[in-house]
């Protein structure tokens, strides 16, 4: 067996950060190597070096035993290395075909773009690897899972045989994850080799052939998936034992903090995606909203937080009507929102951390006196929160874009938790976070709950829903199928509800079978 790829002694420094420290990595031909590590461990940086986006300060890269000098993504592509980024790099207003050909446009008669040729090639690749996608669809109309396929097709179109996937599963539904792993298996069968990065330990043990763990920019070690357990992997990553089970007391729910009555909401494309939803959240409880992504959860949250108008129905916050009120009004009523799309809503990436830490309260004391921003207060606030929430950053002056994905999330959580709130709306709060951070954020959510805050938790991770919720509402096609007491919920009955089937119905049907 040969090694298709070897990294030796890779070191990379950013101002104030040693992102990679003499990292050695080996990828065997036709195998899947899983790269694990905390948020900010240096995984993305390492892959960006391999892909020619960053230049390493030290170290060598060998492809099939040959030392190579990779200066740019073009060099990487020329060596057969392709990358799917943590945050996709697609142009939303272009079609799949146009996105795939971007940068390697074939022409007809040397002048005209040859769309047909590319579309044909895309179909070939689709068939070959089971990556179904319509070459003429616009990216903005595609669900995330399909967008990701486009990214993979882009890489295959450029004839890569070493694929790097940076947290490919973070944004996918469990079904999409299964689909992805089938695709990866097909790729391996056709002779490709894959490095993939993830924070989901179970996936690693199922799919990987080799596991390598990074911590603080250094290799901690490699382990055979057969010998690995989630506990072992977690402690390798974080450097201490991680409690993978959330410890919590039974909830002591108080009166209603949020009451939603027969709510109808249209999404940005004017389709009715929330169809008559009613529920309530009490003080001191966590109501989990489970469901396959795209069943109206996003729009529900946007309506609750004032980002989308309410078509009909009512929303009450401790008795005050807040439907169709501005985000500012809702915010000032003590609603905290951890948004699902952290880079779109949650952060201004080109602003320093300290500005992001007061994004929602910049106009109030103590951050402002009249119209004048109080720089000292703002920066001290950020210093405190960065320490308290263990945000890994060289300082508070760097832009939010310089943080690793997980640490960006911590900035949002820190900001939202640091103001007085009566309702917390958390959408996919631990997406892309490492086990240590998940443990931390879960504990923080439970702590908020125990302080009497009502929590609405929207997550497509059933594990997360089950771990945190006191009651669980399942959404399907814009409606709530059922609200279960967490004690009676399990993956099976939730799974059926998420597919639009009432468990009682299904058992009845089974019984009727001869």
């Amino acid at each position: 067996m040969t090694n298709v790829l070897e990294l030796r002694g890779i070191t990379k420094r950013f101002p104030g950060v040693l992102a990679n420290d003499k990292v050695d990595i080996t990828l065997r031909e036709g195998k899947i190597l899983a790269l694990l590590g905390e948020n900010g461990a240096g995984k993305t940086t390492l892959m960006n070096i391999l892909y020619g986006l960053y230049k390493p300060d030290e170290g060598q890269i060998f492809v099939r035993g040959q030392e190579v000098d990779i200066q740019s993504p073009n060099d990487a592509i020329a060596r057969g290395i392709g990358m799917v980024h943590q945050h996709f790099m697609l142009v939303p207003v272009m079609t799949v075909t146009e996105n795939v050909m971007l940068g390697v446009e074939p022409t007809k008669n040397g002048v005209f773009l040859d769309h047909d040729k590319v579309a044909d090639r895309i179909r070939e690749i689709s068939d070959q690897y089971g990556l179904e996608v319509d070459p003429h669809a616009y990216i903005k109309d595609l669900p995330v899972g399909i967008q990701q396929r486009v990214e993979i097709i882009k890489v295959l179109y450029r004839q890569a045989d070493i694929l790097i996937l940076d947290e490919p599963t973070a944004v996918l539904t469990p079904q999409e994850v299964e689909g992805l792993f089938r695709i990866l298996q097909t790729l391996i069968d056709k002779g490709k080799s894959i490095i993939f990065i993830t924070h989901k330990l179970k996936e690693v043990m199922n799919a990987a052939d080799d596991i390598t763990v990074l911590r603080l920019g250094r290799i901690v070690g490699s382990i055979d998936p057969k010998d690995a357990t989630p506990e072992i992997l977690a402690s390798m990553m974080v450097g201490r034992d991680v409690n993978l089970v959330v410890m919590k007391q039974p909830a002591k729910p108080g009166e209603d903090v949020l009451k939603v009555n027969d709510l109808y909401v249209r999404d940005e494309r004017k389709n009715m995606t929330v169809n008559g939803v009613s529920f309530d959240v009490c003080k001191g409880e966590v109501l989990g909203v489970a469901g396959v992504q795209g069943n109206g959860q996003t729009e529900l949250v946007y309506a609750l937080t004032g980002l989308l108008p309410v078509e009909s129905g009512e929303i009450y916050l401790s008795g005050t009507a807040i439907h169709n009120k501005s985000p500012r009004t809702i915010l000032e009523h003590g609603v905290a929102h951890i948004p699902e799309d952290r880079q779109r809503h949650g952060l201004i990436l080109s602003f320093p951390i300290y500005d992001n830490m007061m994004l929602c309260t910049y106009y109030e004391a103590p951050f402002a006196k009249g119209v004048s921003l109080q720089e000292n207060v703002i920066q001290n606030n950020a210093e405190t929160l960065v320490k308290q929430y263990d945000v890994r950053t060289p300082n508070i002056y760097v832009n939010a874009s310089a943080l690793s994905g997980g640490n960006q999330q911590k900035v949002i959580v820190a900001r939202e938790f640091s103001r007085p709130i009566q309702l917390l709306i958390a959408s996919q709060p631990t997406r892309g976070l490492d086990v240590g951070s998940i443990e931390y954020i879960h504990n923080q959510i439970i702590k908020k709950r125990d302080e009497g805050t009502g929590v609405l938790l929207v997550s497509s991770e059933l594990d997360e829903i089950l771990a945190l919720s006191d009651r669980i509402a399942v959404m399907y096609k814009g409606q709530i199928m059922d609200v279960l007491d967490a004690k009676n919920a399990n993956k099976d009955n939730l799974g059926l509800l998420m597919a639009g089937v009432h468990p009682s119905e299904s058992t009845q049907k089974e019984e009727r079978l001869p």
Partner: protein, 394 residues
């Protein structure tokens, strides 16, 4: 502790996070490269580069021997003619830079909020007309009331002119580029009518009457030096805009809306209100540029008054990276090049268009810094990658 905490936090200084030196390196090299390539053009038309650039330098800064001579004559005989002549080029450059600073600020403020104000030219014109009107029509006011009133009139006129496209965008989603261009044309035609009718001075020329001396921005020296308080006004405005953008809650909102409108909305900011406000502010700044030009330099308004200041402003804002101080530096650069060019043409016979070429090159180099970094092998300080779509959610 983490590996990251070991480094002591130091606060980055200057524009855009790097040190001031880093921030100025590329623009300085861009100017240098522009001059070098300009030299090739001068050679190509068969002229002497040293003569040309010598004239350019004398035209924009003046010459040291002439200055020393002027001072000597002044102190020995009390005769100031020579001194005035020696100071003329330098002060004239500052006079040219003044409207550039203010219109540049106008476009820069728009950029900060994600708005493209192509209407500075029309706002400049309207501001000048309003100031001229206040300046000549009101009589008998003391200067300390009349002058501020005239400036205010210009600023308000420009603000209204900017606010209209801002409102159209906020209310109907009409794109500000189209609307500001439209407003330019309305301003030009409106001024044609005003200058040939209601606002025409007695006589046949389409010009306004001269403003009252009480509305003039005082000059620092006697004629022919036109250098006046307008320049100081422009610098003060640059500082105020800087303070406003970076030190106030309103400026924070504007920058947030410009940098990420979705996040701004999430944070409870009112996007469309900011659009209207910023366009009014931008218009007001461009209008004030018109004021400064009428009240300080020309004292009347005629056709073709704006002379492209509002359009050059777009390039200025770009070169100045939409930072008020950057805009001031860029405006000074343009002011010196422009006023030196006249001298270069008359003294060395080099066509004034060479300066347009140099300006164009400087703009290209600054707008595409990769060229400069590549030519001078400056390592890229990797900032952020362009995110075209975000993978999270839809």
């Amino acid at each position: 502790m983490t590996q990251t905490a070991t480094v002591k936090a130091t606060k980055p200084k200057g524009i855009g996070g790097g040190t001031l030196g880093q921030a100025l390196l590329v623009p300085a090299l861009a100017v240098l490269s522009g001059l070098i390539i300009g030299a090739i053009f001068i050679l190509a038309i068969g002229e002497n580069v040293l003569t040309a650039y010598g004239a350019l330098f004398r035209g924009s800064f003046g010459s040291l021997p002439a200055l020393i001579e002027g001072i000597r004559v002044y102190f020995s005989t009390g005769e100031n003619q020579a001194l005035v002549r020696a100071l003329y080029p330098f002060t004239e450059s500052l006079v040219t830079a003044t409207p550039y600073i203010l219109t540049g600020l106008s476009v820069a403020v728009g950029f900060r909020c994600g708005l493209f104000n192509i209407g500075a030219e029309g706002q400049f014109f309207i501001g000048a007309l309003c100031s001229a009107f206040v300046g000549y029509s009101i009589r008998g006011l003391p200067a300390f009331i009349h002058l501020p009133l005239a400036i205010l009139g210009g600023a308000l006129g420009g603000a209204v002119w900017g606010m209209i496209p801002g409102y159209l965008k906020a209310r109907f989603g009409a794109h500000e580029v189209v609307n500001t261009i439209m407003m330019n044309w309305i301003a030009f035609r409106l001024s044609d009518w005003l200058l040939n009718g209601p606002m025409q001075a007695s006589g046949f020329r389409p010009v306004t009457p001269n403003i009252q001396p009480t509305a003039e921005l005082p000059r620092f020296f006697a004629d022919p030096l036109r250098f006046n308080w307008g320049f100081v006004l422009a610098l003060v405005m640059a500082y105020i805009v800087y303070w406003f953008l970076f030190k106030t809650t309103l400026g924070f909102e504007i920058r947030s809306v410009g940098a990420n409108p979705d996040a701004a909305r999430y944070a409870g900011m009112n996007i469309v209100k900011n659009f209207v406000f910023v366009m009014a502010l931008a218009g007001g700044l461009a209008g004030m540029a018109g004021s400064a030009q009428v009240l300080g330099v020309d004292h009347w308004v005629g056709q073709g008054f704006a002379a492209g200041y509002g359009f050059d402003a777009i390039a200025l804002a770009l070169v100045g990276k939409s930072h008020p101080f950057g805009v001031v530096l860029a405006a000074l650069l343009f002011g010196f090049l422009r006023s030196g060019a006249t001298e270069m043409q008359s003294m060395a016979g080099i066509p004034i268009d060479i300066i347009s070429i140099i300006q164009g090159l400087v703009i290209i180099f600054i707008a595409a810094p990769a060229i400069i970094r590549w030519i001078y092998r400056i390592p890229t300080i990797k900032t952020e990658e362009t995110v075209l779509t975000r993978g999270w959610g839809s």
